[in-house]
């Protein structure tokens, strides 16, 4: 009976990750009375917003079977460029914001062009490109943050709307867009085709290079968006923005059902994966777990989450 119910549940590919998230939320709220407090939920939402935007980008690339380890570096670099445009060049903040998104898309495009035209493995290429973008960032800023970001765009980073942080709404909008693209458009189907069998996709006349380049560019765009929102939030362009956006989104995507081998999963699942990681990191701090234990606990959580997922899939075959 239970087995059947569970079997039914896991037949929806998202139910696994959603139930894990639900269990964690319940446990967390039992363990700390501060957890379900509205301020704390806002904090979780805000943290999820930034890492979530990167997760959307990374999961779309992972559907293609690609990875971009330079998304964090792109986000940081675009943030710095935005800061310079606003503060030193004196551009209108909104214009600068938009320009940075274009630049981010351009960086993503460069990654995509290198991967497709030179047929490079994206993992290693983007390790290199992370050095390039991050290095240029250092060269320009000499490591010093650019302060004095106009307060006009502060709203984008720190404002609230219907009780939730603006970046969170932005994340939701782009999540909806990403889900729409992947599930409802031919382009999205082509993404799955490319990730599932590249030569077969070519044989069907799908412009696989364009699809891949397009997603890389979109990912760069999203990375720049996250970077700029963070600049708006901090009120200064920190060169170190994005340093911690590298491995988490990949783990989140896998937890959420997008394997690194591509072809399956959705950005929505990946966001649930990111939420699991986010809630756990939140509750660890709320409970006052020693900082020395934190990295061990969050590492263990990743391992447990993917293990549970794999075990449950083995027992209740989900096809």
């Amino acid at each position: 009976m239970l087995r059947k119910a569970m079997g039914f549940m896991v037949s929806n590919p998202l139910s696994g990750v959603i139930s894990v998230l639900a269990i964690i939320v319940v446990v967390a709220s039992l363990m700390s009375e501060n957890f379900l407090n509205s301020y704390n939920l806002v904090i979780i939402a805000r943290a999820l917003a930034f890492i979530g935007i990167i997760t959307i980008a990374q999961s779309m690339l992972m559907i293609l079977g690609e990875l971009d380890l330079s998304l964090g570096a792109i986000g940081g670099f675009c943030g710095v460029i935005g800061g310079i445009l606003m503060v030193r060049v004196g551009l209108d903040p909104w214009l600068a914001f938009a320009l940075c998104l274009v630049i981010g898309a351009l960086f993503g495009l460069i990654n995509g062009l290198l991967v497709t035209l030179l047929r490079l493995p994206s993992l290693v290429l983007t390790i290199g490109m992370a050095g390039v973008y991050g290095g240029l960032n250092l060269v320009i800023t000499k490591g010093v943050a650019i302060t004095g970001i106009p307060a006009d765009i502060g709203f984008l980073g720190s404002g609230k709307w219907f009780g939730l942080p603006v970046p969170f709404w932005v994340m939701l909008v782009f999540l909806a867009l990403a889900c729409f693209i992947t599930l409802k458009t031919p382009f999205g189907r082509y993404m799955y085709a490319v990730g599932s069998n590249l030569p077969a996709a070519q044989m069907l006349g799908i412009r696989t290079d364009r699809v891949r380049i397009g997603v890389f560019a979109f990912a760069g765009f999203l990375a720049a968006l996250a970077g700029m929102l963070m600049v708006a939030r901090l009120g200064s362009a920190q060169p170190s923005i994005g340093d911690s956006w590298v491995l988490g989104p990949i783990a989140a995507s896998v937890i959420g059902g997008v394997p690194t081998t591509g072809g399956i999963g959705t950005p929505l699942g990946a966001i649930f994966g990111a939420a699991i990681i986010g809630v756990i990191e939140n509750i660890i701090v709320l409970l006052g777990v020693s900082p020395y234990w934190q990295s061990m606990v969050s590492g263990a959580i990743v391992v447990i989450a993917i293990s549970l997922d794999s075990i449950s899939r083995r027992y209740f075959r989900r096809d």
């Binding site: 409802k184 799955y192 599932s196 077969a200 070519q202 069907l204 006349g205 072809g263 399956i264």
Partner: protein, 499 residues
């Protein structure tokens, strides 16, 4: 006494009863053929015999012991799977003898020279056109197929050899090679389980034939007690006419495709015409370069020289998107690598090139897509529990039908079939032939690359032969029965230009 005993075996996959209460005995020193339409359950049965799948019910007795509890018994069963399953980056010799302990090449050290020397006799025996040190991904598909069979035969504890459609990508000469080996194996006292969709092969090699239909064992008979017609009706449960010639009528339309001096990887200076409404056959030995010509024309492989015109207009080479947009469709012979999208549903697989009609304003209309795909699944009789079934779990033949249905749905003007009936059962084969004919008669130009002479003679209006990358002859169908055609395929004589 039967060495292998299938005892009321059933196998259920989610939504599919692949095998239903099968009882079967495989005897030593005999060739036992499993016949059945696509999806009948042949491969599933074989996988249960080899221990790669477990039965849901029933047991497999090997040497009078229950194989579920004695896994080691499966070692005496050598198996050649339906799909090619080799290590592309490794050498022929390594592929032949892996795992080394089984073939007495184990021990502490891996001795490449010794291994390659040991591989030589096998290569010669199976007439594989490769050296022991060649990388497998650089040898032809037919050689890979032969290598797989050779690999199974290197198993010294082999008592039963199972061949799941070993001949689907081989020409008659190579099939004969395989048969010689099968007879050797039988002569040495082993039993052989053989699967094929080609009747002449079945009758040529079998002692016993078992017929499966929809997962049930219909009948087991000595081969001599059966003939084509009986076998067909056992397999399909209905009468099917097979002897009709299926050339399209009115194949004298204007030239729709004109190829001039095309050269590329593995072929030189290929020129030919295709007329509207005709089926143009391409014959040749496997490895003659026919697939390469077609893939180059289609834009999947780069062209070195030459040009093509479609409907009088200059054709852009090297761009598959352009090709499909302009009505030239190529169906690869390699379903696994160039055809299906594993892990994706049947609906997504078939719906992939149909967005012209199923998407509006850049958004997919789910209802229309379901309808269109549903129609294709019905029209081509694709056996799947639901449209959302993962295509990986369809039987090989049904995957092929899905791909063909998908191509035909794209309204092509020139359609290139590369070994379209490889691994397809007879009933579906006939359907495909009829579909090709109907398409041609609607004005589509069709190129049919095939290694089955019978198929070409039955369907094509005209046959071009290729030998080692060059066109070696061209025949009208009326002239195609003689020796000249066979000669041209083998690269001698046959200057029977007629067209």
């Amino acid at each position: 006494m039967a060495y292998l005993h299938v005892d009321h075996v059933s196998k259920t996959y989610p939504g599919v009863k692949a095998l239903d209460d099968i009882v079967l005995e495989i005897e030593m020193g005999k060739v036992h053929t499993l016949a059945g339409e696509n999806g009948a359950g042949k491969s599933t049965l074989v996988k249960i015999l080899t221990g790669t799948e477990r039965p849901t019910e029933g047991r497999v007795m090997i040497d009078d012991q229950d194989a579920v509890h004695h896994q080691h018994l499966h070692k005496s069963i050598a198996y050649v799977p339906q799909e090619i399953n080799l290590f592309g980056n490794m050498t022929v010799a390594e592929n032949l003898f892996m795992p080394f302990s089984r073939s007495h090449h184990g021990g502490l050290l891996f001795r490449r020279r010794k291994l390659e020397r040991a591989a030589q006799p096998w290569i010669e025996r199976f007439k594989i056109a490769a050296r022991p040190g060649d990388k497998v991904r650089n040898i032809s598909i037919s050689d890979q197929q032969l290598l797989q069979i050779a690999r199974a035969c290197t198993n010294e504890s082999m008592k039963i050899l199972i061949l799941d459609e070993p001949t689907s990508s081989l020409t008659e000469t190579e099939v004969e090679r395989v048969f010689r080996v099968v007879r050797d194996v039988v002569a040495s006292g082993c039993g052989v389980v053989f699967i094929s969709h080609k009747f002449d092969e079945m009758f040529a090699i079998s002692d016993t034939i078992s017929v499966l239909r929809n997962g049930r064992l219909i009948d087991t008979q000595p081969a001599t007690m059966l003939d084509d017609r009986q076998l067909i009706s056992l397999m399909s449960g209905q009468e099917i006419k097979t002897d009709a010639r299926l050339q399209p009528e009115g194949s004298e339309g204007e030239v729709i495709l004109q190829v001039d001096g095309l050269s590329g990887k593995g072929f030189e200076d290929v020129s030919f015409n295709l007329r509207r409404g005709e089926i143009l056959g391409f014959a040749g030995l496997v490895g003659a370069g026919r697939s390469e010509v077609m893939q180059t024309l289609f834009g999947f492989l780069p062209a070195r020289a030459g040009s093509a015109r479609v409907e009088g207009r200059e054709w852009r080479l090297g761009d598959t998107h352009h090709a499909i947009r302009n009505g030239l469709f190529y169906l690869s012979e390699e379903r696994k690598y160039h055809g299906i999208f594993p892990g994706q549903s049947v609906r997504r697989n078939i719906g992939m090139p149909l967005f012209g009609s199923t998407a509006r304003g850049g958004v997919i209309d789910a209802r229309r897509e379901r309808e269109r795909v549903g129609t294709i699944v019905r029209d081509y009789d694709i056996k799947t529990p639901t449209l959302n079934q993962n295509i990986t779990f369809l039987s090989g033949g049904n995957q092929q039908k899905a791909i063909i249905g998908r191509a035909m749905a794209c309204d092509p003007r020139v359609l290139i079939f590369d070994e379209p009936t490889k691994g397809i059962d007879l009933r579906t084969k006939m359907e495909i032939y009829r579909l090709m004919k109907a398409l041609a008669e609607r004005g589509v130009g069709i190129i049919l690359v095939s290694s089955e002479m019978d198929e070409l003679r039955r369907c094509a209006n005209r046959i071009i032969t290729m030998y080692e990358g060059r066109i070696s002859g061209e025949f009208h169908i009326e002239q195609a029965s003689g020796n000249a055609l066979v000669g041209a395929i083998h690269g001698h004589g046959g200057d029977g230009h007629a067209a």
